[in-house]
């Protein structure tokens, strides 16, 4: 059999696995792989400016296309720079394969130049990882790595390849998929659990569907089935930050996002429900608020592909361990087979209407400043008017929450945000990755003035690959969410939460060959957004917004869903130590 070098085996595997794009950065320990990629006919390599950028691009690519993202970085600092993005992908269950170069096997453990214990460092921030010590093992490891990253609960997998393994040769034939005998994620639910779930749903008087990122991960079919189940039951639907778009925001049954910055109606409906059907969400602390007051009179059904998510934080009555689409399919089939009819939920919906009437997302405007919520709402309106497919990414902070609240999502895979890890610096590279995977879509990163600077170097990447991404900065010259917490907790002592020495974002854009737009007042907002959307190339918009706006409604840490703050007048300015100690 013909022998191939480890580097050639790797590249052949990537081709066989259908990889079209690799986000990476070269260095000493991956030179053989880069040589194998030189002028490659099918694999496009995107040269990033920092390895963290590569990981978030891969995440954005994966989340928007449903295909795994692939990253290629060198040993040592290349690998350690990737760690934040790898951890982000683990927390948000994003399928990603990270190939890292390593010093040659005979130098491992000698503190060689650019050596880091990559498998040790990434052991607990990956779904699985490998150090491949011989080229003969490489093909089966790469195939297994893709399988593990993309099946069950998706996640990042690191494959560390020493430089001599990239150069040494081994016989190569396309391998059969050989997976650990111990790896068998459960995707099909137990019939008894489905039966119990259907009967509880049919009997519920105040049901709510609490959906999350698992619906998106399960694929477009899961979103379609969720819509069908919502129609069959007539239940209100809420979602976590990660699940936005799985259910259309324009539906009458949509009650908005729940949790810390969720709507009044979503959180009250969760609190008062008699049945919660959790679909691919994980009762995260941002969602539950104070645990002993969380949905106190409800029975709970939890659909999750990862058994360890069930009963981790909130005890549930029925555990459905399965892929979301498969479980919803089973539930719908049994519902129809038993000929269940929609319950009369008139009274329940009347109560929800009462909570809705609070209009918890409303905000006051003064006519002289742009309210950040208004900027998002206008952006949403303008995007809709284009009729084009729009993908929104965000950084982390107030702007992220405002985007979640005021931008309506109708379809899955159009909303990319760092939910679990809350990584500032995620959104812009994620937009680049999404644009790579969706060349015909309008891709917009909604950012804050602080978080955009965390991976702003990737502007060069967008220029190089002529990616027409848009950055829409809500510039309030603060790390707004930190400032907001300081106002809530530390009597407005703004310890290091202001943005000093900000760059001129317009000039910065121009320096990279982008279009820069500044929007300074309400009268410029509509035209500025329109110009951004009508410009063909990449655009950075510096939208100056009201500096001290805060994000409401809010469940402060340690509070129950029923103790939401609806506006600034309810802020006391300090908290107990118990509340301060919560994140």
């Amino acid at each position: 059999m013909a022998e191939k070098s480890g580097a050639d085996i790797l590249v052949q595997c990537l081709v066989d696995l259908g990889v079209e794009v690799v986000f990476g950065y070269p260095g000493g320990a991956v030179l053989p792989i880069y040589d194998a990629l030189y002028n490659h006919p099918t694999i496009r390599h995107v040269l990033v400016r920092h390895e963290q950028g590569a990981t978030h691009m891969a995440e954005g690519y994966a989340r928007s296309t449903g295909k795994p993202g692939v990253v290629l970085v060198t040993s040592g600092p290349g690998a350690t720079n990737a760690v934040t993005g790898i951890t982000d992908a683990l927390l948000d269950s994003i399928p990603m394969i990270v190939i890292t170069g390593q010093v040659p096997t005979q130098l491992i453990g000698t503190d060689a130049f650019q050596e880091a214990d990559t498998v040790g460092i990434t052991r607990h921030c990956t779904k699985h990882n490998y150090l491949v010590k011989t080229p003969g093992k490489l093909a089966e490891v790469i195939h297994e790595a893709f399988h593990i990253a993309t099946t069950g609960r998706p996640g990042p997998v690191v494959v560390d390849i020493p430089k001599n393994v990239q150069i040494a040769t081994a016989p190569y034939a396309k391998p059969e998929l050989k997976v650990h005998a111990s790896y068998h994620p459960q995707t099909k639910a137990d019939a008894a659990a489905i039966d119990a779930a259907v009967e509880m749903l049919a009997a519920a008087e105040r049901p709510i569907l609490y959906t999350g990122g698992g619906v998106i991960n399960s694929g477009p079919q899961a979103s379609a089935l969720l819509r069908e189940l919502a129609a069959l039951t007539g239940a209100p639907v809420t979602s976590t930050l990660m699940g936005l778009g799985a259910f259309p925001a324009s539906s009458d049954q949509w009650v908005g996002m729940l949790g810390m910055h969720g709507t009044y109606e979503a959180n009250w409906a969760m609190n008062q429900a008699d049945l919660i059907l959790c679909v691919g969400a994980r009762f995260d602390d941002r969602v539950t608020g104070r645990l002993d007051a969380f949905a106190p009179n409800s029975r709970k059904i939890h659909i999750d592909i990862d058994r360890s998510s069930i009963n981790k934080i909130v005890d549930v009555d029925v555990a459905v361990v399965a892929d979301v689409a498969s479980a919803l399919d089973d539930i719908i089939a049994l519902w129809k087979q038993r000929n269940h009819q929609k319950s009369d939920l008139t009274e329940w919906w009347a109560r929800i209407a009462g909570w809705r009437a609070k209009k918890s997302l409303d905000y006051a405007e003064n006519g002289t400043e742009i309210m950040p919520q208004r900027a998002i709402a206008d952006l949403y309106k303008a995007c809709n008017a284009t009729g084009k497919d729009v993908i929104i990414t965000t950084e982390v902070g107030q702007h992220q929450m405002w985007a979640a609240q005021h931008f309506g999502f109708e379809a899955p895979n159009k909303w990319l945000t760092s939910g679990g890890l809350g990584t500032m610096g995620y959104g812009f590279p994620a937009a680049i990755g999404a644009q790579m995977g969706n060349p015909d879509s309008t891709t917009i990163c909604i950012a804050g003035d602080a978080s955009i600077q965390m991976n702003i170097q990737e502007m060069g990447t967008a220029s190089q690959y002529r990616l027409p991404v848009k950055i829409f900065i809500l510039n309030n010259e603060y790390m707004g969410m930190v400032r907001q917490w300081q106002e809530l907790t530390y009597e407005s002592r703004y310890s290091n939460s202001y943005s000093d020495s900000l760059p001129d974002f317009v000039k910065l854009g121009e320096a990279y060959g982008w279009t820069g737009i500044r929007i300074e007042g309400p009268q410029e907002l509509e035209a500025g957004i329109r110009q951004m959307l009508e410009t063909d190339g990449p655009v950075i918009v510096d939208c100056r917004v009201a500096k001290l706006s805060n994000c409401f409604p809010m469940i402060p840490s340690g509070a129950a869903h029923t103790d939401m703050l609806l506006d600034p007048s309810q802020v006391k300015g300090s908290m107990t130590d118990e509340a301060k100690a919560l994140v």
Binding site: H124, K127, S182, A581
Partner: protein, 171 residues
């Protein structure tokens, strides 16, 4: 403000895992990363081809935490099976200890008498010392070591617990 701690129970977990590089670090690291306790941990390969190891972990925690530990272990790719022996029904557990005791005269004779009571074997001797080998439950070994401490305990080496479910089935 003070930090509250919950009541915990002792559980013996038995895992079969693929015998591959890093598996022990993966498991030990999971315990530290998620703040679980390890009272003892033993590992050795148990198949002819050295492909599978059994890891026995004695841990403690509230029931909900034990349930999480099992679920978290179970989702590690190289972990084949996790059994909570404490929950799964009657099981035997044993550990082995080597106990070095120094003494002369009546102490030396008393040490031998106690060893006989505990069915400990002498595996090394000098004029002034013994090394006893004792197997049994953790409690039995604790008791033996406690008695020897009063006579002239020098040092102890313990293997930690291994356990198997009773009966003819493989688990």
């Amino acid at each position: 403000m003070h930090i509250q701690e919950e009541l915990s129970q002792r559980h013996v977990l038995s895992l079969t895992v693929s015998n591959e590089a890093g598996i022990l670090a993966r498991i030990a690291g999971l315990f530290t990363a998620r703040g679980y306790n390890i009272d003892s941990l033993t590992v050795a390969d148990i198949t002819d081809d050295h492909a599978i190891s059994r890891i026995t972990i004695v841990t403690s925690g509230p029931p909900k935490v034990i349930d999480q530990i099992i679920a978290q272990l179970d989702r590690l790719v190289p972990v084949h099976k996790v059994i909570d022996l404490t929950e799964a029904g009657p099981f035997v557990e044993r550990e082995l200890a080597l106990v070095k005791v120094a003494g002369v005269g009546e102490d030396r004779i008393e040490a031998l008498r106690l060893a006989d009571v505990f069915r400990a074997k002498v595996v090394d001797t000098t004029i002034e010392s013994f090394i006893f080998e004792i197997t049994g439950t953790t409690e039995k070994v604790d008791n033996f070591v406690g008695l020897m401490r009063q006579i002239g305990l020098v040092e102890v080496g313990r293997t930690g617990v291994v356990g198997l479910i009773r009966g003819k089935e493989a688990n």
